[in-house]
Symmetry: C2
């Protein structure tokens, strides 16, 4: 950092000028809800089927729920968990639970009973809100768990499947509360607001703790990254359990927007809501964009306004960007981790790129980019020395982040917390190059890189080539131990139906034609790929397999 | 406040999760400049005549100036003053001076030598940057002042008048610095960033201290209030010495916009720049809008884009709003004080107001409004008990603010600081009513209210009526002591040329026809009104005069 420090505090500017109640307030996204309700009480806050609730109604419900939780013995610093789709209740939980002084723990709906049980125990949940769609897996989790939280059913009348398993339902709990009791006032903006478990591909998930300050700042950073219009209409395609929906519940409150809620991510629902609610913004993984691209033309027809889309998780291919642009959708590529409140890096667009050919635009947009407005530091550097790599677009380094959009740390895990912060930077574990214009582009996860004959080979680069093969449906590349080279790339490949004639030699040959020879995989293994509950390929299993070929 | 406090900090969420260099950074607007220069190095930052500088160039110049100031012995917490129009140098000072760890003191260019001398002494300035246009008054001030700062000339080649009076010029000072030395890194966001003297109508000005946190947050609050587009083109009609240009130097850096600089606020320059630079935003007092309205049609012609205008200081009359709308200018009314970083209250617009008749729209827009996005508390309350007044649009109370957009305090003035923060709220001194929709509307300064027979009479209300009289050019109303009523309103009036036939009786009669009889002034005094250097009427002089009639 191009800075120096001086701690002389004995100037006239530090005498008789202390913080007090008049001139200081803890940063907390709860204030966004308070302001929305006081300035625009009658504007719509949440839409779900026939339910339309205003900001005043939403604030009142949160106030009552916070009060009800307090009355049931929830104390500041207690954990309240939720397993639910993107319903209005899930949005409300992002405010009501901190308004009780408690910490929101939104659990991935795709986890199995064992993983849920682990989280309930590790996170010490006192209350669990659960939507009926997930009551059977939660029931099994509760049987496994030593911790037995108060279970509250979210009983969506438009969802018929699933039984209620709680001792009270959400609406009754809300109605236990009253409007007259003050809610919790955050005094220290460093206090925890949420707890998000990472979906690690190995071992137990880690509990990432967010604080009020970071939630407030990333909410605002989102709105600036996207230059959001006033009162944005936001469609909830991105799960709220992913980094608290990338902090967008708080962004939408700050902007007094509309939360268009959605149980399932389906092309018909999405297009119909975009048209009927005039949705202007949504977020989603490239797979969601793919699904929309592939939808029927009659679904796509009739959108006469601009839609801004934020995507992360993988670079959107050119064909996806082109398809989106044809629909009038403008795609912003962002990057982040659970540890950085979701997107903390953004591929900030330059106007002069608009006139470039599509392929080139897609290449520019495929880069992860630069620090988001409120991230304080971003660098690509040597993983050990933390010396920044040259901005040559070639030298591989690890991505490091610094500042207010970095988590408080991992819950009850000081060793891993310290490790991840060693040297004063957060270690992302993602390997990238730094382009001359300062934009970072990820090449691999650090543990997935293949070091062959002293050369770093990006598994992602090989996978990109494999995905372009017309008969390959899915591919994953890992390192295989090798006496001569140290490691060599080994590809696991699932073919499209009817491609049985393709041999491993064909594929290796194809790779050699499309990349440096030393990078081409030495082994090809056919078959389906093992995945986690969130759809991530379990490369550690493939590595074991590769080493036992 | 509808909140309660709990200081239990002994939860699992506060163990092993402390602040460190990786996960915490002090909020400071300097980071906006760093990001603008690193992400958009080649975008234009400042425009002034033939000068066009990019964000990289601007950052480099700031880095060098900061380094040069350090080399000349400026230490963290030292004061550096500037007296200059809205030039690129003035913009740079908003970053370079804090980057030296110093505190920027931007002095009102309309002050006389004595007032400037007072500020240089009270603020303990170590360096004074001065534009040639003001060198003669500054020279006189320096002769009066016991404090003799290093004087640096800003030698604008497009401005021929005035002599250079310093020991070095700005460009040479910049060139003394180097790019390789790190600049000051703010460790405590509560550290002072600027010092702004109020233009009190009585007594010596007070030094209002801003900190990095507040400057950062109000900069962002501005951009949200206005829903600014990316890379906004901002015209510098509002003086940078007014609350640091309402914090817009930092806003424009945060948005990587363009600062279109301007020496004098003239209709021809403004219209020409709006057209040639495609200006999208500017701020100004209603008098500036008036001037633009009154400009020649050929100046006004040819604007084909929307221009957003922020105004404060007085409510914009319906005719001004109508004129602006005809030009395609959209007016936002804001309110604040030097003590609240400029605008901290905004008349947030509601879409449903668009269809109302102009007069009604103007009435709605004339209200000061609600808290800006990042102001934490706003209320209209009893000045003594701090009990909020009913939201009935009638009951008079004082406006109080709370939170991060309230100053650090008054420099070397702990008594007045404590007084202004007593009860945990900042006392604005402005009297207002609170409308049922939560919007505040100012009726008077607390010291200007007239209490007659136990009734509060707003001097502003009487002045509004007087201003509608076709032969009155200027008017000011103050309290005159009265044995029977306690106080009665006394009006000081300047007539338009050729209105000599108008008598005091005519005016009193006019008032009685347009307001409750008890509110009509009992005395009318003709003549010009005494004003401060910033154009504020000196009501304390009029009060003395009224009591000696």
């Amino acid at each position: 950092m191009n800075t120096y420090v001086n701690n002389e505090n004995n100037t006239v500017f530090n005498v008789g000028l202390e913080k007090n109640q008049a001139n200081y307030a803890a940063l907390s996204p709860i204030t966004f809800l308070q302001r929305a309700a006081s300035v625009y009480p009658n504007r719509t806050a949440t839409v779900y089927g026939n339910i339309h609730r205003t900001w005043q109604e939403t604030y009142d419900r949160c106030l009552k729920l916070a009060n009800a939780l307090r009355s049931r013995g929830i104390n500041p610093g207690d954990t309240v968990s939720i397993i639910a789709p993107n319903l209005p209740e899930h949005f409300e939980a992002h405010f009501a639970i901190p308004m009780a002084g408690a910490v929101l723990n939104s659990i991935n709906i795709r986890l199995d009973a064992q993983a849920i049980a682990f989280i309930l125990e590790h996170g010490e949940s006192k209350v669990l809100l659960v939507d009926k769609e997930f009551s059977s897996v939660v029931k099994a989790a509760l049987e496994l768990s030593q911790n037995k939280p108060l279970v509250v059913d979210i009983d969506d009348p438009t969802w018929e499947d699933g039984e209620t398993i709680g001792s009270i339902d959400y609406e009754s709990l809300v109605n236990e509360g009253n409007l007259d009791t003050p809610h919790f006032a955050v005094q220290d903006e460093w206090d925890a607001i949420t707890l998000n478990y990472t979906s690690g591909t190995t071992g137990n998930p880690k509990g990432v703790v967010y604080h009020h300050r970071g939630a407030y700042l990333n909410a605002i950073s989102n709105s600036i990254s996207w230059s959001m219009s006033p009162h944005p209409v936001y469609l909830w395609t991105l799960p709220m359990f992913h980094c608290n929906g990338w902090c967008f519940p708080w962004t939408i409150a700050a902007m007094t927007g509309v939360n268009v809620c959605l149980r399932h991510v389906r092309a018909d629902d999405i297009f119909n809501l975009i048209k009927s609610e005039k949705v202007g913004y949504f977020c989603g993984a490239p797979i969601v964009l793919n699904m929309l691209n592939a939808a029927d033309d009659d679904l796509k027809a009739g959108i006469n306004h601009t839609v801004d889309v934020m995507t992360a998780g993988a670079a959107p291919p050119a064909s996806v960007i082109a398809g989106m642009e044809e629909l009038g959708f403008n795609v912003t590529h962002v990057y982040g981790l659970t540890e950085t409140y979701g997107p903390s890096v953004v591929c900030s667009w330059h106007d002069e790129w608009n006139t470039k050919p599509l392929e080139e635009k897609a290449k520019l947009k495929a880069r992860q980019g630069v620090r988001a407005p409120m991230l304080d530091g971003l660098m690509v550097a040597d993983p050990v020395t933390l010396k920044p790599v040259p901005k040559d677009g070639k030298t591989l380094g690890e991505i490091f982040m610094q500042g207010n959009l970095v988590m408080k740390g991992y819950l009850k895990n000081p060793e891993t917390t310290d490790e991840s912060f060693s040297g004063g930077w957060f270690h992302s574990g993602d390997l990238a190059v730094w382009h001359p214009d300062g934009y970072a582009e990820i090449k691999d996860r650090s543990k997935d890189i293949i070091i062959s004959g002293g050369e770093n080979i990006s598994s992602i680069e090989i996978e990109d080539v494999l995905y372009r093969h017309p008969h390959i449906q899915e591919a994953a590349v890992v390192a295989k131990k090798d006496e001569k080279w140290g490691e060599t790339p080994c590809a696991f490949v699932a073919l499209t139906p009817g491609s049985e004639g393709i041999s491993d030699k064909d594929i290796i040959q194809y790779c050699r034609e499309h990349m440096a020879h030393f990078k081409a995989p030495k082994n090809i293994v056919f078959g389906t790929l093992p995945k986690t509950s969130t759809g991530k390929v379990q490369k550690f299993l493939l590595r074991e397999k590769a080493n036992h070929l």
